[in-house]
C-alpha cells in the first residue's frame, strides 16, 4: 500500500530500515473475507443486509481480521448505514467512538484518503469499524454529525489532518492546527518537520536550514 520506503527520519540515501529491504510491494487484492465470518459477525451483517435493501451496493467489502469486523462503505450510503446501525434493535451501535483518517497514496482504486469510524454497541458489547475511501481530487464524505453528534470534533480533526471534507458538518474548521495553516500534516507526502513556522508575525525557519554556528 505504501509508496517508496525511506529511512527512519524520512532521509534517503542510506540503508533501508523500513523492514521491506528495498523490495517493492505489490498492491494487495481488495477482497472480502469468506463467509462465514465467525463470532457475531454473520448475525450482524445478515441483520444489516435485511434492514438495508441496497446492502450489496453500499458495502464494498466485508473484512474480518484479528477478530475485528470492518465494513468498507461507499460514501453515498454512509449516513443511512450509520442510522441503521444505531437504531436497528438487532445492531444497536449507540456510540461512535471516533473518526480517524488514514492516507494511502498508492491505493489501488485511486482513493487515497480513508475515513475510519469506530462504532460501539454497549447493549451487545460489540465493536465495528466502517471505512470510507475518497480520492484526493474529490475528498467529500457526508458528515455523520446528525446521527452521532460526537462526530463533530472528530470530523474537524480529520479535515484538519487529512483534508477530507465532511459535507453537512455544522462548522468544519481546523481544530488542532492554526486556522491559516497550509496543507494537511498527517498526509504521507507532508514532511515531518522542515516546515517554516510563523510565530507572532515572524518566519521561523526549520532547524535544518537555520544558521550554523559551527
Amino acid at each position: 500500500m505504501t509508496d517508496e520506503h525511506r529511512d527512519m527520519f524520512g532521509a534517503s540515501g542510506f540503508g533501508d530500515t523500513s523492514g521491506f529491504g528495498g523490495l517493492a510491494v505489490r498492491p494487495t487484492d481488495l477482497v472480502s473475507s469468506p463467509k462465514p465470518y465467525g463470532e457475531w459477525f454473520d448475525e450482524a451483517t445478515d441483520a444489516l443486509e435485511q434492514a438495508l435493501p441496497s446492502f450489496g451496493d453500499a458495502v464494498e467489502r466485508v473484512v474480518v481480521h484479528r477478530g475485528e469486523l470492518t465494513l468498507y462503505v461507499k460514501r453515498e450510503a454512509l449516513v443511512d448505514l450509520c442510522r441503521l446501525l444505531r437504531d436497528d434493535p438487532r445492531l444497536r451501535f449507540e456510540q461512535l467512538s471516533g473518526v480517524s483518517g488514514v492516507d494511502y497514496p498508492n491505493d489501488p482504486t485511486g482513493r487515497r484518503l480513508h475515513a475510519v469510524y469506530h462504532l460501539l454497541s454497549m447493549t451487545r458489547r460489540r465493536r465495528l469499524r466502517l471505512e470510507v475511501a475518497v480520492a484526493d481530487a474529490d475528498p467529500h464524505v457526508p458528515s455523520v454529525t446528525e446521527v452521532y453528534p460526537t462526530a463533530n470534533w472528530h470530523e474537524r480533526e480529520t479535515w484538519d489532518f487529512f483534508g477530507i471534507v465532511f459535507d453537512g458538518h455544522p462548522g468544519l474548521t481546523r481544530i488542532e492546527m492554526p486556522d491559516d495553516w497550509p496543507g494537511h500534516p498527517q498526509r504521507k507526502d507532508y514532511p515531518l518537520g522542515g516546515v517554516p513556522v510563523e510565530y507572532k508575525g515572524a518566519q521561523i525557519p526549520p532547524p535544518d536550514t537555520r544558521r550554523s554556528y559551527a
Binding site: 520506503h5 523492514g19 458489547r125 469499524r129 500534516p185
Partner: protein, 458 residues
C-alpha cells in the same frame, strides 16, 4: 485594566499594538470594544459596557488561565453573570505525536504515545501495546506476569490521576487543603512508579509483547504498604469534603449531563458513570486479565459535578481492591513474550554504578556469537515487522475510553496511529454543561470533566 484610549471612543475597538509591543494584535474586525484585562475589578469592566448598547459581552477565558487545566481556551458569551453561550477552542498543545510515531519503530513509538495524556501515561502505552500485540497475533502468548504488572501499574496510575483531579479541582473552587493533600499522596505513587519504571511520568515501560524490565526488589512491599495508607487517606478526604457545605453548594446540581446526553456526545468514563450507566470497559470488554479481578463499577445517578466527585473517590477504593488482588497474583515468570524476533535479547539489570546493563548478554554477543550480535543490532535499530492490518483495542483510562487505532503496512514502523482520547471527546460536552449556568460554575464544570490537554491536542 481597561485601555485608557477606549474610554474616549466608545464604539471603536482598542488595539494592543504599539511601538513597544510590535507583536500586539492589530486586528481591525468590528467585533465591538475589546478590553484587555489582567486582574482588577470585574465591576469596572461591566460598568464600562453600556447595557442599552450591548447586553452580551464576550469573554475569552484562557488559553493560559490557571483553572483551565493547561491550555484550554473558552469563549464565553455572558449576560450579566449568566453564560449564554460557551465554545471551546483547543489545539494550543498540538505537538504532532501521531505523526512522529510514523517515523519511529514500533517499540520506540511507546516513548511518544506515553506523552499524550500525561496524567495517565501507562494507559496510553497499554492501549497501544494491546493493539500492536493484536496485529502481531501474540495476544494469547503474553505471559501472566506481564498482564498482572500491567493491571497493577495501570490502577496505581488511575489513583494518581484521580488524585490530581481531586487536588486541582479542589483548588479551583477554593479547597486549598485538598490540593496539598492530593499532591502529597500522589507523590507516594510517583515514587513507586519511579522505583519500578525509572521515571515519575512518561514511563515508556510497557512494550509490545511485555514490559521493559521486571519489578525491582522491594517494589511489591512498597505497594503493600501503600494500600492501607491510601485507604486511610481517602476516608480523610471524604470527611473533609463529602459533607462540606461549601463543597456541596459549589458542586451539587452544577454541570448536569444525563445518560442520553453522554451517549450523544460520546462521553465516557466517570461522567457517564455519574449519570447512572454502569459502563466500564474493564468490566464489559475486559483486557489484560481484568475479568479475573473482583471489583465493582461505581455509579451515581445525579449526573452533576458532585456525583462525579463521588464516582472518582470511590473508584480510588476499587482500584486499591484491584491492586491488592494483583499483588497477590504476582508469580515469578517471564516479562516478555518468548518470541525472540519480538522480545529484546537482553534483560537490563541495575548495576552497582547505577546504570542499567546486562554483562552476561554483552559477553555473549561480543565474545561468543556473531549471529547473536547481528540479531541484537537488527532488532534494536531496525525493529520487528508487524503484519499488515488495523486494530483498535481501547482501555478504560481514568477519563474514559482511550483507544489507539493502529494501522500497519507490514513494515517496522507504524503506518498510522490515531489516539481516541477521552479528554478530547468529553470536552465537547462543555457547552452542554455550562450554558445557562453561572460563570463561576464554568470552572467547576470544566474541572469535573478532568480534561488533560496533552491528550486532547496530542
Amino acid at each position: 485594566m481597561t485601555d485608557p484610549n477606549a474610554a474616549d471612543s466608545a464604539t471603536t475597538y482598542t488595539s494592543t499594538y504599539s511601538s513597544e509591543d510590535p507583536y500586539g494584535s492589530t486586528s481591525t474586525d468590528d467585533a465591538g470594544r475589546i478590553f484587555t484585562v489582567g486582574g482588577g475589578d470585574w465591576d469596572e469592566i461591566v460598568n464600562a459596557v453600556d447595557p442599552l448598547e450591548s447586553e452580551r459581552i464576550v469573554v475569552n477565558m484562557g488559553p493560559q488561565h490557571p483553572s483551565t487545566h493547561g491550555v484550554l481556551r473558552m469563549v464565553l458569551e455572558l449576560e450579566g453573570e449568566t453564560v449564554a453561550r460557551s465554545r471551546v477552542v483547543i489545539g494550543y498543545l498540538h505537538t504532532g505525536i501521531e505523526k512522529n510515531m510514523e517515523f519511529r519503530t514500533w517499540t520506540q513509538a511507546v516513548t511518544f504515545i506515553t506523552r499524550c495524556d500525561y496524567l495517565a501515561p501507562l494507559s496510553n502505552e497499554l492501549t497501544y501495546c494491546l493493539g500492536v500485540e493484536r496485529l502481531l497475533d501474540i495476544e494469547d502468548q503474553i505471559p501472566e506476569r506481564v498482564k498482572v504488572i500491567r493491571v497493577l501499574l495501570a490502577e496505581l496510575q488511575r489513583i494518581s490521576s484521580h488524585l490530581v483531579w481531586l487536588a486541582t479541582g479542589g483548588m479551583e473552587i477554593g479547597a486549598m487543603t485538598m490540593m496539598l493533600f492530593g499532591f502529597r499522596e500522589r507523590e507516594h505513587i510517583l515514587a513507586i512508579l519511579e522505583m519500578i519504571t525509572g521515571l515519575r511520568m512518561n514511563h515508556a515501560y510497557f512494550r509490545p509483547g511485555g514490559v521493559a524490565q521486571d519489578l525491582p526488589p522491594g517494589a511489591v512491599d512498597r505497594i503493600r504498604e501503600f494500600i492501607p495508607y491510601m485507604h486511610a487517606k481517602i476516608d480523610e478526604y471524604e470527611s473533609l469534603l463529602t459533607a462540606n457545605p461549601i463543597w456541596l453548594r459549589r458542586l451539587k446540581g452544577v454541570g448536569f449531563l444525563d445518560t442520553n446526553g453522554c451517549m450523544q456526545l460520546g462521553v465516557t468514563g466517570p461522567l457517564l458513570r455519574a449519570s447512572g450507566l454502569a459502563w466500564d470497559i474493564r468490566k464489559e470488554m475486559p483486557y489484560s486479565g481484568y475479568e479475573n479481578y473482583d471489583f465493582d463499577v461505581v455509579t451515581e445517578s445525579a449526573g452533576d459535578c458532585f456525583a462525579r466527585y463521588l464516582v472518582r473517590v470511590n473508584e480510588i477504593r476499587q482500584s486499591l481492591r484491584i491492586i491488592e488482588q494483583a499483588v497477590d497474583r504476582l508469580k515469578p515468570g517471564p516479562i516478555m513474550v518468548a518470541d525472540k524476533k519480538i522480545a529484546w535479547p537482553a534483560q537490563l539489570a541495575l548495576g552497582g554504578d547505577g546504570l542499567g546493563n546486562s554483562l552476561d548478554h554483552i559477553r555473549h554477543i561480543m565474545g561468543q556469537s556473531m549471529e547473536a550480535l547481528i540479531h541484537h543490532f537488527k532488532l534494536v535499530t531496525e525493529g520487528f515487522r508487524v503484519p499488515p492490518g488495523q486494530a483498535y483495542v481501547p482501555v478504560e483510562s481514568p477519563r474514559g475510553e482511550l483507544g489507539a487505532h493502529i494501522v500497519s503496512d507490514g513494515g517496522t514502523r507504524p503506518y498510522r496511529v490515531h489516539l481516541r482520547d477521552p479528554s478530547f471527546v468529553n470536552l465537547q460536552a462543555v457547552p452542554a454543561l455550562t450554558e445557562g449556568g453561572m460563570i463561576s460554575d464554568v470552572v467547576a464544570s470544566v474541572a469535573s470533566i478532568d480534561p488533560v490537554m496533552g491528550g486532547v491536542d496530542r
